[in-house]
């Protein structure tokens, strides 16, 4: 029996999608940025060049704001499983709960415990201990990604479980639970995505300031580092994505069918549809732009290999095809642009024009948000592609939801939307305002000078942030 789709279910799904989409933006940035900060501090400790310390403090302030928003939007996630998805929690808690508890124990505490020292402790502890704190925060972000991606991957490709008398999933083999089949691929794909996302933001900020002054040393350094990442990691990411896709084909074929727009089966080789309009009701892809045999070539490494389509799967098990089809294309499109940026910047670098290429800088500036777009589109692809299940093939989304009335879920959804837009718009505004200004020599730290000097009249922070460059200052 297929449970009916209710308003409360739909609203709960919208709320989860909304809150998790907002949340993932922050870790996608902080995972990469924490590592970048560790690299900058290491470079400063090794070379003693002040410019690395300036860059470190510049990005540290941006990290602090982003991390704060990531924390508060993350606490929401930890509770929302229970408030809105209580049946899911009851049934999967014995398997997924311990993984999330390990995330708290090994990652969240590590990040939080050393974040204070990292942000405010530079003059309170030695240089070595401060660097250690930065490293711990960076490692914490990675460990957090490890556990939560293991949880998500288990929902996609559940293994190592049994089902008890109460209908709960219970652990049978923890190694199989944690290292379930899609986990290694998802972990690599997401961590690379986080690094690329950060590199694109850092590159865009560097590009912005190079466009204004192409001799600025700090801007040049961050732009160069970011473009190296784009050049090296974007091709790796394409490879990782391809392997992830093959893994999905093996374990979640319906998702790949939706991604590819394959409504019907192709016994003699499936075409690669570059574009088209999926018509789910009719079960066809309208106005297709196809490369014959392309999909079979990518997925089976043989243009005439047979590929099954959605017609081989019961209708009630179809994911929403159009969403998956389009989000996948947006992600791939962003990936191609990243490849292009990496290649173009490499050419400019080899020709010695990396800092004097205004068109490249404009391109890099435009690509600043591309990582976030790709991350969101990628997650939409994989999460919507898992539907109509929360635990793929085993537990339906409609059977996972809390027994709540529509008014309760509607009210909380409205509240989340209003609060998130107010709070995270403000945060984004403050981050952009920090980015608008290039790194300064003797860059202040997160709160240096923020407390007032005398009697609370002089707003030192405002003076520091409004400070303008003297002629010749800040040039190498």
């Amino acid at each position: 029996m297929i449970p009916e789709v209710t308003d409360a279910l739909l609203l709960a799904r919208v709320q989860f999608a909304f809150t998790i989409a907002f949340h993932i933006i922050f870790p996608a940035f902080t995972i990469g940025l924490a590592s970048y900060l560790a690299v900058l501090e290491a470079l400063w400790l090794r070379t003693r060049r002040e410019v690395f310390l300036d860059l470190f403090k510049y990005w540290l302030k941006i990290f602090a704001i982003t991390f704060g928003m990531g924390v508060v939007s993350g606490v929401v996630m930890a509770y929302q499983f229970g408030t809105n998805w209580s049946v899911f929690s009851d049934k999967t808690g014995p398997v997924l709960g311990p993984l999330m508890a390990y995330e708290v124990l090994t990652a969240f505490f590590l990040e939080a415990g050393f974040l204070g020292v990292m942000l405010f402790g530079m003059n309170r502890v030695g240089k070595g201990l401060h660097f250690f704190a930065t490293l711990m925060v960076a490692i914490g972000t990675f460990v957090s990604a490890f556990w939560i991606l293991s949880v998500n991957s288990w929902m996609q490709t559940p293994t190592g479980y049994a089902i008890n008398a109460d209908g709960q999933f219970v652990p049978a083999d923890w190694i199989e639970v944690i290292f379930n089949p899609s986990f290694p691929y998802r972990l690599v794909h997401m961590v690379l995505a986080a690094y690329l996302t950060t590199a694109l933001v850092v590159g865009a900020v560097g590009a912005l300031h190079l466009l204004r002054d192409n001799r600025d040393e700090a801007s040049g350094i961050m732009f160069s580092m970011a473009m190296w990442m784009a050049t090296l990691v974007a091709p790796l990411q394409v490879l990782a994505g391809d392997l992830h896709g093959l893994n999905t084909l093996e374990h979640q074929p319906a998702k790949v069918m939706a991604m590819e727009g394959h409504f019907r089966s192709y016994p003699d080789g499936a075409p690669l549809y570059l574009l088209g309009i999926p018509d789910e009701a009719a079960g066809v892809l309208r106005y297709p732009l196809a490369i014959p045999g392309g999909s079979s070539l990518i997925l089976k490494h043989d243009p005439s290999a047979p590929l099954a389509g959605l017609d081989s799967i019961p209708r009630e098990d179809w994911p929403p095809v159009a969403i998956v089809f389009w989000s996948f294309r947006i992600m791939v499109g962003m990936g191609i642009l990243m490849l292009l940026l990496g290649a173009v910047s490499l050419v400019a670098r080899l020709r010695g024009r990396l800092y004097r290429a205004p068109l490249l800088h404009r391109f890099a500036l435009l690509m600043g948000p591309a990582g976030f777009v790709a991350v969101l589109a990628g997650w939409v692809t994989t999460e919507v592609g898992r539907q109509p299940f929360t635990v793929y093939g085993l537990l339906r989304t409609a059977e996972s939801v809390s027994p709540l009335g529509t008014p309760a879920v509607a009210a909380s959804l409205v509240a989340f939307v209003i609060v998130y837009f107010i709070v995270f718009s403000a945060g984004t505004f403050y981050i952009l305002r920090l980015m608008r200004r290039p790194p300064q020599p003797h860059e202040p730290g997160p709160k240096e000078g923020a407390p007032t000097r005398a009697a609370g009249i002089t707003p030192a922070a405002a003076i520091a942030s409004g400070r303008t460059l003297e002629p010749g200052e800040g040039r190498p």
């Binding site: 928003m69 993350g74 808690g93 311990p98 402790g121 709160k447 007032t452």
Partner: protein
Amino acid sequence: MILGIDLAAIWAFVIAFAVFAYVVMDGFDLGIGMLFPFFPARRDRDVMMNSVAPVWDGNETWLVLGGGGLLAAFPLAYAVLFPALYAPLTVMLLALVFRGVAFEFRWRTERAKPYWDFSFAAGSFLAAFAQGVALGAILQGVAVEDRHYAGGWWDWLTGFSLLTGAAVVVGFGLLGATWLVTKTTGALQTRAYRFAGWGAALTLAAIFAVSLATPFLDAEYWRRWLQWPHILFTAPVPIAVAVVALRLFDGLRKRREYEPFFLSLALFALSYAGLGISFWPYIVPGEITIWEAAAPESSQLFMLVGVVVMVPLILAYTAHAYWVFRGKVDPDAGYH
């Protein structure tokens, strides 16, 4: 049971420990937020916020451990209680969003600073109030049917839950004020002492009121607290509260700097022990015991390994962070 060890009972203590660690650590920083409206001077507010800025994130992580640990060790309780507490938990989460971002946003703007100060204060107040309401709502019992919450989305709202909400607000206010005493000097400290005095009086009144109301919620609570011979075991709790309270007032009057904060924590510990007496061995009062809600032993054992290894480490580096930022907040030097 494995080797005769009652894992469910151990986990009940682990969760209780996490929640108490949360109350001990986040209580005072929520309290600092609630005191903001009474300290309008910018310089004072800077000091107050800086007294908790380096540690608040770690403090709040205990809340995530409490929630995550409940899901992992007692998934049925998590699945029943959280929908029952839908409105208060949603309010708490949104309030924590507002106060959490204020730590950073406040320093990034001049024009909007008053708004983020308000968001810090109101967020802290609402988070504390919602936590108290949630506690009261659990204590008064929730409707359960067939592994589901079976009540409506306003069931939590009673006079009792509003009372526990107010109790947690004044209690955290006391923790905030006594914490502020330890971190400040001069005029600001003098005002903190005064607020600590008010906080202590209100907290004791709240403890008294909640204790008085609890036995009337359910015959089981009555039997447990007031019937012979149970009263032999429960009576020491209120007596200890009275002793601690006298010392607290004495410490505040004699202006001992650190004692009042720790005595306030002792008040919380005793109230918490009292809650334990009321709850045990139920996790959803009168409906679900810890054994009925427990995850399979393989889940609880797997996690217990992590707890045994990690929690001492966490406590060690948390203590280190507190040590690094020890002493008075210097209003002139900033936080470096």
